[in-house]
C-alpha cells in the first residue's frame, strides 16, 4: 500500500508542474530512485499504471525509473562501499562510523509533455 500513497503524492506534484507550465498532456515522467529509498520499482509501476489511468492528462504515460545505487562512506578509513551489500559496517576496516552518501533519492527529473 505504501507505493500507492507515494504515487498519489507524486501525481499531486506532477499536477503542479502541469499547471505551472500550461501542459495539456504528460506522456513520460523520468524518475531518479535511490536503491535504498524504500520504494519497490515493480510495485511503483503497478500503482502508477492504475492511478495515471484515472486522469485524462496522464492516462497511458510512461514512468521511466532510473535507479541510483546506494553508496556509504566510512568516517574512519574514508573509503566508500556498496550499501546494499555491506550495510552499516565498513567492509574495509570494520568500523560502524559510516554515513550514507547517496541512495535515498526520490526525485522527478523531467517530464515529456505537450
Amino acid at each position: 500500500m505504501h507505493e500507492l500513497g507515494v504515487v498519489f503524492a507524486m501525481i499531486d506534484t506532477l499536477d503542479d508542474v502541469r499547471k505551472d507550465n500550461d501542459l495539456t498532456r504528460i506522456e513520460r515522467v523520468t524518475l531518479d530512485l535511490g536503491e535504498v529509498s524504500g520504494v519497490i520499482p515493480e510495485y511503483l509501476q503497478d500503482c502508477w499504471k492504475w492511478a495515471a489511468s484515472k486522469r485524462d492528462w496522464l492516462a497511458g504515460a510512461t514512468l521511466d525509473v532510473q535507479q541510483i545505487d546506494a553508496v556509504t562512506v566510512c568516517n574512519d578509513c574514508g573509503r566508500t562501499y556498496g550499501t546494499v551489500k555491506h550495510g552499516r559496517t565498513c567492509p574495509h576496516c570494520g568500523s560502524e562510523h559510516t554515513e550514507l552518501l547517496r541512495g535515498t533519492e526520490f526525485e522527478i527529473r523531467d517530464v515529456t509533455a505537450m
Partner: protein, 222 residues
C-alpha cells in the same frame, strides 16, 4: 498540433505535499498552535499516552487530537472521554497521513481554543516518517515488547523524531528489553534526541515527558 517538449523538473516526488505542509506549519505558527505528529507501531500506546497526558495537563494545556486510522472511530471516542476535542480522519487504506489530510482534520477542530494539536498517525514505523504532515514536532513511541533492535530495522523513524518515548517501561524486564543497547542503536541515527522511558500505567517518567511538552510549546510561541 502541439509539440512534445521536455521540462526539467528536478523536484522531490513529495514536493507538492511539502508545500502544503509548509502552509499548515505557517498557519499554526501564527495561531500559536503547536502541531505534533505522534508516531509508533500499532499497539505501542499512542492513545493511552494521550489520554494520560490530557488528564494530567488539562488545567494548563488545551489539547485537540486528530485520529488517523484506516478505519473505525474507536480512538476518537476514547479521547473524547478524556474531555479533549477529537476528530477522526480515515486514510482510505493508506499507510500514513499527508499534509492535505491533516489540514482537513485541523479544519474540524476549534483551533482558536487549542494550545496543542496532536496527529495520532496510523500505526506504522515506516511510511509516516516519510510524509511531512505540517507538524512542527515529531514524537515517536517505541514500546518495550517491540524490542531494542527496532532503530536498526526502521532507522528513518528514529532519525526523524524530536523525542523518543520508550513506553511500557514497567514491563521491560519481561521482554528482555535492553535499554543501554536501545540507546546505542538510536544514537547511531539521531545523536542528541531525548529518550524518555515512560509508563502511562504507573506514571513513571511521565513528568519528564510533560516537561518536554511544556518546553516545546513555549519555544514554539516565543
Amino acid at each position: 498540433m502541439d509539440e512534445l517538449r521536455v521540462i526539467q523538473v528536478k523536484e522531490h516526488v513529495f514536493a507538492s505535499n511539502a508545500r502544503n505542509a509548509d502552509d499548515v506549519r505557517e498557519r499554526c505558527h501564527k495561531q500559536g498552535l503547536l502541531l505534533i505528529n505522534l508516531m509508533s507501531s500499532p499497539g505501542a500506546g499512542k492513545t493511552t499516552l494521550l489520554g494520560a497526558t490530557i488528564d494530567a495537563l488539562h488545567d494548563e494545556i488545551a489539547f485537540g487530537i486528530i485520529e488517523a486510522d484506516v478505519d473505525s472511530a474507536v480512538d476518537a471516542h476514547t479521547i473524547r472521554e478524556h474531555g479533549a476535542q477529537a476528530v477522526q480522519v480515515h486514510t482510505g487504506g493508506m499507510c500514513h497521513l499527508d499534509a492535505g489530510m491533516c489540514d482537513q482534520g485541523l479544519a474540524e477542530l476549534d483551533c482558536d481554543s487549542l494550545d496543542v494539536a496532536v496527529i495520532e498517525n496510523v500505526g506504522n514505523l515506516i511510511c509516516p516518517a516519510e510524509f511531512d504532515t505540517g507538524a512542527s514536532a515529531k514524537v515517536m513511541i517505541l514500546s518495550t515488547p517491540e524490542g531494542h533492535d527496532k532503530p536498526l530495522k526502521y532507522p528513518l523513524m528514529f532519525q526523524e523524531s524530536d523525542v523518543v518515548l520508550v513506553s511500557k517501561i514497567d514491563v521491560a524486564p519481561y521482554f528482555d528489553f535492553d535499554m543501554e543497547q536501545f540507546e546505542h542503536n538510536v544514537r547511531l541515527r539521531n545523536k542528541d534526541v531525548p529518550i524518555i522511558p515512560v509508563s502511562a500505567k504507573t506514571g513513571e517518567g511521565m513528568d519528564v515527558w510533560y516537561q518536554w511538552l511544556r518546553d516545546r510549546l513555549s519555544a514554539w510561541r516565543s
